[in-house]
Amino acid sequence: MQCQQCDKPAVFHITELETGEVRELHLCEDHARVYLNQSEAAQEGEEKPAGSGLSGSLAVGQTADELALLDKKACPMCGITFFEFRNQGRLGCPHDYVHVEKELEPLIANIHGGTQHTGRRPERPAAAEGESLAEGTDDLTRVIGLRRSMQEAIACEDYERAREDRDAIRGIEERWLAGPHNEIGTAKADNEIGPAKADNEIGPAKADKATDET
């Protein structure tokens, strides 16, 4: 592909997202540098809406094909695609920081300067004894994906998978959310699909509700 402003090959592919409008730029190294400096100067002194300045730096250095592929990359937990994130400037769930870590890294470095948290750490919730926070909370975040999977299973009447998902959710939530607030943390799972009533409750009646949400 050729640079849009001269005859040199385009090596920078930039997607600008401004007020919902998508603008694609294909530039050679020199023109890209000029363009990026301009947009940086234009942004100085004015409020940067979160998410704007992001899109430019995300796309730099990737070919159009790589970008298109990346845009389709969806989080296994919350389902957000990279395109949706670029569009809204908001991530879908905590797991995105793991799932697209490599792509986020230059963006975060650009915003903050640093790429390693050095501040406070949460005290481990009393319930999560045995879970090490050194590993973060990604284990608990898995329930977002399991919940989605369970709803899909219910929608296509695969009740066995729904039950497996439910049990998996319950297992994780018990590890993380039980303890002094046990009755609160696991209340949802217990009430909605307790083991004794599982056959009655996971059924077509529930499916309506699940499809409404998706």
């Binding site: 949460p122 329930v143 977002i144």
Partner: protein
């Protein structure tokens, strides 16, 4: 909580006390937190939204920090009441205007406020009067610790506290001070000051945060980065620049008095005159004039007004407050008349009556 009783008073942050309160109106620290087991707010289904609201409400109100707070269902409030909370800086405009399950919990002194289902699941803020970032930080840290013991905050060893927007990730902290800088505005030095603040990664905003216009010479200075430095370092980054700004503003005030005494005296006296006699007045003009009178009082050019009263008027002459105090809904035109009436009564002496 009876919001109407709040209208009779102003929150802690406008008390006009605390260090450097002639220039620093308030110090604020906020933390962005999310629970690990739900999608971020913009990705939540209605069901998720309700679940997270309930989960946080139950856990927070059961914690020592939360049991002292008044919990308000923002979704069920009338528009005027939501606006009222915005004017008191207890919730953001976005939170007021959003849809779906959301809430705020506030303490009686209006120092601590917890927003639930704003951009992040939980936004904790703490506001102190004057320059007191340290005090606000100690207080918010205790609240965060207590909630963190019962709520599994989304956390990553490398990225820190995980937030919906990568601009808040890491510490999730926003440290800000609200400054009254009329002399820097009058002497046209304010833009130069802001340009140099941008260079050291500090943001400047208007009175009501992101995207709001600076009204009445009030400006918020805050950190822009949240990852790679500790909370203390980020507090220092903002805290270090404040004495410099205070010094600039003081010098500009001295300059005005020394070089243009008559002119300044005339300006603040006219502002005072309008506030005492106008028959109809907008919120913007009121803010602008109160700002000038505030400076006049601090320069000793106006004798019979207290700073705390001016601070209080800044909030109580705003649209929702006027309507709460008056007890009826008013359209813009009637509000302007009511505002002028309220100001005249206030400056006539004695406490303004309904």
């Amino acid at each position: 909580m009876k919001l109407d009783t709040l209208a009779e008073d102003v929150g802690e942050w406008l008390r006009g006390t605390g260090p450097e309160s002639d220039i620093v109106m308030s110090s604020r620290v906020r933390l962005a937190r999310n629970v690990a087991h739900y999608p971020f707010v913009s990705r939540m289904s209605e069901q998720d939204r309700g679940d997270v609201e309930r989960f946080l409400r139950e856990r927070i109100t059961a914690s020592p920090a939360g049991s002292q707070l008044e919990y308000i269902d923002v979704g069920r409030l009338e528009e005027v009441d939501r606006q009222f909370l915005v004017e008191r800086q207890l919730i953001s405009r976005e939170h007021a205007e959003a849809q779906g399950a959301r809430a705020v919990a506030i303490d009686g002194r209006e120092q601590v406020s917890l927003m639930i289902n704003e951009e992040d699941h939980l936004r904790i803020q703490c506001m102190h009067s004057g320059l007191d970032l340290r005090g606000a930080w100690e207080q918010i840290k205790a609240v965060d610790d207590q909630i963190g013991r019962v709520v599994p905050y989304a956390f990553h060893p490398r990225w820190g506290y995980l937030t919906a927007c990568p601009t808040n990730v890491g510490t999730g902290i926003r440290v800000s001070v609200m400054l009254h800088l009329p002399a820097l505005v009058i002497t046209r030095q304010i833009d130069k000051v802001f340009r140099s603040l941008h260079k050291i990664s500090l943001a400047v905003r208007g009175l009501y945060g992101e995207g709001s216009q600076a009204m009445g010479d009030f400006y918020q200075i805050s950190n822009q980065t949240t990852l790679g430095k500790t909370e203390e370092e980020l507090i220092e980054q903002v805290g270090d620049v404040v004495p410099v700004l205070i010094d600039y503003e003081r010098r500009a005030r001295e300059f005005l008095v020394r070089e243009t005494q008559q002119n300044v005296h005339d300006q603040v006296s006219r502002a005072y005159g309008i506030l005492r006699t106008a028959q109809t007045i907008t919120a913007e003009e009121t803010m602008q004039l109160l700002s000038r009178v505030r400076m006049g009082v601090l320069l000793g050019l106006i004798g019979d007004v207290k700073i705390a009263d001016i601070n209080s008027l800044l909030v109580r002459t705003q649209p929702a407050h006027l309507q709460k105090i008056r007890g009826v809904e008013l359209d813009t035109k009637d509000r302007n008349i009511e505002r002028a009436r309220y100001l005249r009564r206030h400056f006539e002496g004695g406490t303004p009556q309904n």
